[in-house]
C-alpha cells in the first residue's frame, strides 16, 4: 500500500487519464452486452473470451507483418461470423429459457474457448506492438501511450457508427422492435430468429473491435476473459439497459476506479477489487430497492 497518489497530484492525473481511456474500451464491450441482454434476454459469460479471441486475431496479423491497427477492421468481420456460429449452435436453444440456463451454457462456451485458445495460441501473455510512441503532458510528468488514445478514438467511432446504424437502418429498427416486444415484432413480420442471430453477431463484432484494441494497448492471455465479462456486466447493471450515455459514463468511472485500485492496493489486487466492486454494487442496489420492497429484476 502506498499513498503516493495523494502526495503527487501528477499521479492522480495520470491515473484519471489512463482510467478514462481504458473505460471507453470497457464501455464498448458493455454496449455489446447491453444489446444482447436487452434484445435476447441473455447474459453471456463468454463475452470476455470473445474479446480475447478478437485480440488474438489482431495479434496474428501483427505476427505476419501486417500492422495490428488493421485488426480493428478485420477482427470484427471474422468475429461476426464466429458470433453467428455460436448463436446457431448454442444460443438459439437457450433464448427463451431461464436466464440461469443461459448463464451456465455460456459458462461452458467460455471454458471451451479459453482452452481452445490456450491450445491454438499458447499460454503466454502477448501484445501486438503498434509502434505508435507516447505523448508527454504536463512537463513530461504524465505519460500517455498514443496507442491508448488511438484505441479510445476508435471505440468512440465504432460506438457512434453503431448508434446511427441502430437508429437508421432497417435491421436496426427490427432489433429495437424485437427488444421492445418480440411477439409483436413477430406478428408484424420481423424474422426474430434472424434478428437474434444478427444481434449476437454484432455483439461478437464489437467484442472483436475491443479485443483488437486491447491487444494493441494492453496484453492478452487466453485466461483473461472473465474479468472483461464481469466488468461489462457491472457497467450494464449500473447504467441500465438501453442507456448509452450511462454506459459510457459508468465505463469511464470503472476505468478510473481500477487505475486507482491499482495504485493504492497494488497490482495483485486489481482484478480482485473489480470483482469485489461488483458484489458491493449489487448489494448496494439491493438495499436501496428493498426500502421500497422491490428487488433487482
Amino acid at each position: 500500500m502506498d499513498f503516493l497518489v495523494f502526495q503527487y497530484p501528477m499521479i492522480t492525473i495520470q491515473a484519471c487519464l489512463d482510467g478514462l481511456l481504458l473505460g471507453i474500451l470497457f464501455a464498448l464491450i458493455a454496449y455489446g452486452m447491453a444489446l444482447q441482454w436487452g434484445v435476447m434476454n441473455i447474459i453471456n459469460i463468454a463475452q470476455g473470451d470473445l474479446v480475447i479471441l478478437g485480440g488474438y486475431i489482431a495479434y496474428f496479423m501483427y505476427l505476419y507483418g501486417i500492422h495490428p491497427a488493421w485488426g480493428v477492421i478485420v477482427s470484427p468481420i471474422i468475429m461476426y461470423f464466429v458470433g453467428i456460429a455460436i448463436y446457431k449452435l448454442v444460443i438459439n436453444k437457450v433464448v427463451d429459457r431461464d436466464l440461469f440456463i443461459s448463464i451456465l451454457a455460456t459458462f461452458g462456451i467460455s471454458i471451451l474457448f479459453m482452452q481452445l485458445m490456450n491450445f491454438a495460441f499458447g499460454a503466454d501473455v502477448v501484445l501486438a506492438n503498434s509502434g505508435y510512441g507516447t505523448t508527454m503532458l504536463f512537463d513530461n510528468n504524465v505519460v500517455l501511450p498514443n496507442s491508448k488514445i488511438f484505441s479510445a478514438f476508435i471505440s468512440i467511432v465504432f460506438a457512434i457508427c453503431l448508434v446511427v446504424y441502430m437508429k437508421r437502418s432497417k435491421l436496426g429498427r427490427a432489433i429495437r422492435a424485437t427488444a421492445q416486444n418480440a411477439r409483436a415484432a413477430k406478428i408484424l413480420g420481423v424474422d426474430t430468429e434472424k434478428v437474434y442471430a444478427a444481434t449476437f453477431g454484432i455483439n461478437a463484432a464489437l467484442c472483436g473491435v475491443a479485443g483488437a484494441l486491447i491487444s494493441i494497448t494492453f496484453t492478452i492471455h487466453p485466461y483473461m476473459g472473465l474479468p472483461y465479462t464481469i466488468r461489462s456486466f457491472m457497467i450494464v447493471i449500473v447504467a441500465g439497459l438501453g442507456n448509452l450515455p450511462g454506459v459510457a459514463m459508468s465505463g469511464m468511472g470503472l476505468g478510473i476506479f481500477e487505475e486507482f485500485a491499482d495504485y493504492i492496493l497494488g497490482t495483485e489486487f486489481r482484478i480482485g477489487s473489480v470483482f469485489l466492486l461488483l458484489v458491493l454494487i449489487l448489494v448496494y442496489r439491493r438495499f436501496k430497492l428493498s426500502r421500497k420492497r422491490e428487488y433487482l429484476k
Binding site: 436453444k93 462456451i109 471454458i111 479459453m114 482452452q115 481452445l116 480482485g272 458484489v279 448489494v283 439491493r286
Partner: protein, 350 residues
C-alpha cells in the same frame, strides 16, 4: 422408511467401508468422489430446493481449505515461516500433532464458513435469480484473487499442507483420507435426509416456487434463506478442509477458490443428476466423476474442451437431469398419482 431402503442404505454403507480394500488403486479417486458428492448434495440444498443458483459456494470450500490447513500448522508451528518456501521440511508434525490439528482444523473449517455465510447472507440473498448467480460468481473469484495476494497463507506460491505422518512404517494416508471423506459423506447424507423430511424443506421449496407468495403466507423467507445457505456453507467448508489435506497443496486460484473447475462442477453435478431431489446430486456426482476421469485419461490435454462441450450439452438437452427424466417416464415410482385416462389423452394430444 421401508425395508427395501434399509437394505439399500446398509448395502451402500458396507460397500463404502470395504471399497478401499477391494480397489486399493482407486483410494484417492474414491475419496474425491465422496467429496464431490458432499459438494453436489449441499449445493442442491440452496440451488435445487431453494432455487438460489449459486456459483459462489466455492467461497466456503476454499475458506475451509485454507482454515483447516492454517489451523493444523498454526497450532504447533509459526505459520509465516511454514509458508515461506521449504517450511514443511523444517517443521515436522508428530502423528498426535497431525491428528489433533486435523480434528480442530476440520471443526474450524466447518464452523467459520457457516458464520461467514450467515454474515453475508442478509446482503447477498436479497438478490434474486441471475443477479444472485453473478454476484456469487464475483464473490468466489474475488476471494481467489485476494487470497492470492495474502503473504501469510502463501500468496501466489501456494501452501503445502502438513504431510501425513509416518507411523511405524505404515502407509495409511490413502485409507485415512478415504475414511475421513466417507465419514463426511455419511454425515452429510444423514443430515440432508433428515432436513428433507421436515417443514424446513417445504419452506425452501415454497421460496423456490414463488418467493413473494411465500412471504405473503407469513413465512420469514430471509431467515430460512440464510439458514439454507449456512447449511450449505457448513458442509462445503468441511469438504474443503478434507480436500486440502487430500491434495496436499493449496493454491489460491487453482485448488482452493477454483471457480472455473470445482465451482462449476458442483452446479453441473447437481443438474446432471436432477436438481431438487435427494438422490439426484449423488447419482450426478458419481456419473460426472466417471466422465471427468475418462476425459482426463483419454483426452489428456483436451479435457477442458470436452468439459466445456459437456456443460453445454447437459444444460441445453438435460436441464431437468437424470432424475427429472426418470420422473417424467415413471411418475408412479415417485409417488405421483397418474390417471390412466389422463395419460391416454396426453398421448393422443401429442
Amino acid at each position: 422408511m421401508n425395508k427395501n431402503s434399509w437394505i439399500l442404505y446398509i448395502g451402500i454403507l458396507v460397500f463404502g467401508l470395504v471399497a478401499p480394500f477391494i480397489f486399493p488403486a482407486f483410494k484417492v479417486q474414491l475419496s474425491i468422489l465422496c467429496v464431490l458428492i458432499v459438494l453436489a448434495t449441499t449445493w442442491n440444498i440452496q440451488g435445487g430446493e431453494m432455487g438460489y443458483n449459486s456459483f459462489g459456494n466455492i467461497l466456503f470450500y476454499g475458506l475451509g481449505m485454507y482454515l483447516c490447513a492454517s489451523v493444523q500448522v498454526g497450532m504447533f508451528f509459526p505459520l509465516a515461516e511454514w509458508t515461506e518456501s521449504g517450511g514443511e521440511k523444517t517443521f515436522v508434525h508428530t502423528p498426535s500433532q497431525f491428528f489433533q490439528g486435523m480434528a480442530v482444523g476440520l471443526v474450524v473449517a466447518a464452523v467459520v464458513p457457516t458464520i461467514v455465510a450467515g454474515l453475508i447472507g442478509y446482503s447477498i440473498l436479497g438478490l434474486r435469480g441471475h443477479y444472485f448467480a453473478i454476484c456469487t460468481l464475483g464473490l468466489g473469484v474475488a476471494a481467489g484473487e485476494i487470497s492470492g495476494g495474502i503473504e501469510i497463507i502463501g500468496a501466489g506460491q501456494g501452501f503445502t499442507t502438513p504431510p501425513f505422518p509416518n507411523i511405524g512404517g505404515l502407509e495409511a494416508r490413502g485409507e485415512f483420507f478415504y475414511f475421513l471423506s466417507f465419514g463426511a459423506l455419511v454425515l452429510t447424507f444423514i443430515a440432508v435426509r433428515a432436513i428433507y423430511t421436515t417443514r424446513f424443506k417445504l419452506i425452501l421449496n415454497a421460496i423456490r416456487d414463488n418467493e413473494d407468495k411465500a412471504e405473503a403466507m407469513g413465512i420469514e423467507t430471509m431467515k430460512y434463506k440464510i439458514s439454507g445457505w449456512m447449511i450449505s456453507a457448513f458442509f462445503c467448508g468441511l469438504a474443503g478442509g478434507i480436500m486440502g489435506g487430500l491434495v496436499g497443496y493449496i493454491d489460491s486460484t487453482d485448488v482452493a477458490f477454483d471457480g472455473r473447475e470445482m465451482g462449476v462442477f458442483m452446479v453441473l453435478m447437481a443438474i446432471l443428476g436432477g436438481k431438487g431431489t435427494l438422490w439426484g446430486p449423488i447419482i450426478g456426482a458419481t456419473l460426472f466423476h466417471f466422465f471427468k476421469e475418462g476425459f482426463w485419461t483419454f483426452f489428456l490435454g483436451w479435457q477442458y474442451v470436452a468439459l466445456g462441450v459437456l456443460i453445454v450439452v447437459i444444460v441445453i438437452y438435460f436441464p431437468e437431469g437424470l432424475m427429472g427424466w426418470l420422473r417424467e417416464k415413471y411418475p408412479e415410482r415417485f409417488g405421483e398419482v397418474v390417471d390412466e385416462a389422463d395419460r391416454k389423452a396426453q398421448v393422443e394430444l401429442k
